[in-house]
């Protein structure tokens, strides 16, 4: 019983660690895509290759953190709302300094409207990254990928 509980806890921690990098990457990418001229790196227009690189790298690394493909997929799903939340918090950041760049009540809707493409892009990228990350992790462990699909 205690062992099963411990295993569950470790599984939850692995998913959370995986979600952490995915959500940070998604939040940053969404924020950058909306305000490319006021973020880092600075550019006039949002760079699709940069957004894709950030999401793809995070998805692979996040999936490598997950113990198995199922965990990686759960993390990919959870990352979507949490990444959006990170993007909204980033957009609220001037408010913490007493500045209001946008009407505070409009920020969530504004962010949702203009980051919808990045949010939509993140799901297939994260799912693809989950498979690639598990393959890479499998190489490190020396096992075979199909074995990892077993329940």
């Amino acid at each position: 019983m205690a062992r099963e509980l411990s295993a569950r806890l470790q599984q939850a921690i692995r998913v959370l660690r995986s979600v952490c990098i995915l959500a940070l990457a998604l939040g940053y990418a969404a924020f950058y895509s909306i305000f490319p001229s006021a973020t880092f790196p600075v550019s006039g227009d949002a760079s699709f290759p940069w957004i894709f690189l950030v999401l793809a790298a995070a998805s692979v690394l996040g999936a490598m953190e997950a113990g198995e493909l199922q965990e990686a997929v759960v993390a990919a799903m959870l990352a979507l709302p949490l990444g959006y939340l990170v993007a909204v918090l980033l957009a609220f950041s001037p408010a913490f300094a007493g500045l209001y760049f946008l009407e505070p009540s409009l920020v969530p809707f504004f962010m949702a409207r203009y980051s919808i493409l990045v949010l939509a892009l993140s799901l297939p990228v994260n799912l693809g990254g989950a498979v690639v990350g598990q393959l890479l992790r499998d190489r490190f462990r020396g096992g075979r990928f199909p074995d990892r699909l077993q329940p």
Binding site: Q10, R17, C20, I21, L24, A25, G27, Y28, F31, Y32, F35, P36, S37, A38, T39, F40, V42, S43, G44, D45, V54, A57, A58, L61, M64, E65, L90, A91, S93, P94, A97, L99, Y100, F101, Y114, R137, F140, R141
Partner: protein, 226 residues
Amino acid sequence: MIRIGFLASHEWRLEIPFVVAIGFLLVFMGLSVANFVSVAQVHGSLGVEATASVGYLGLASNGTLSDNGTARARINVTAVNPSSRSLQFDTVIYKLWIEDLPREAGYAVGRRDVPIQNGTTTRWIYLAFSGSNTSGGVSVPASGRATVPLVVDVTARLDPYTFAAVQNITGFAVSHGVSPTAIPSELFILTSLYIDGAPPPDSPTAALYLTDIVRIVIGQGTDYGA
């Protein structure tokens, strides 16, 4: 298998790129927030101060404006920038009205004046100077201020209709013992400035807010129209 805590040795190796990536993301997010907050600070703190004075060149011996004289407005537009970002002046739009004294005295002047209701009294003003100036090259330093000086002339050759109106108003003032330079005026300015290091979008189909972020439009006075 060698284990450190609950992670095997190969799993510790996997941790390195993960931690590095998290670190990179946090650094990029921190720099983004710093940049974003500094841009927001410009929007929240930028101020503009504008002053104007009207002088007259080529006055006749009786003090009135002669036909080959010049009405000259000097408008100084100063941007006060307490933020940590430097700015570049883009465009200054200006309008300077002078009080139409003959109209207020009840004369039929036949020109397009603007009424300003002030309690029970009505003032009539005439748009004598207006236009815009692209003031590229004038930069506003961080935590500093910079001024765009504008000199605008109205002559009979440049704008005969406006010049005739100014001549009529100044002539009326002189005939009533008022110096032409003492005629009350109203100034409206609207200026735009770009934030240094915040490039505007290149794409012609970019959302309008992207331009609004990097370009600040700020004004002073009331635009009474034409």
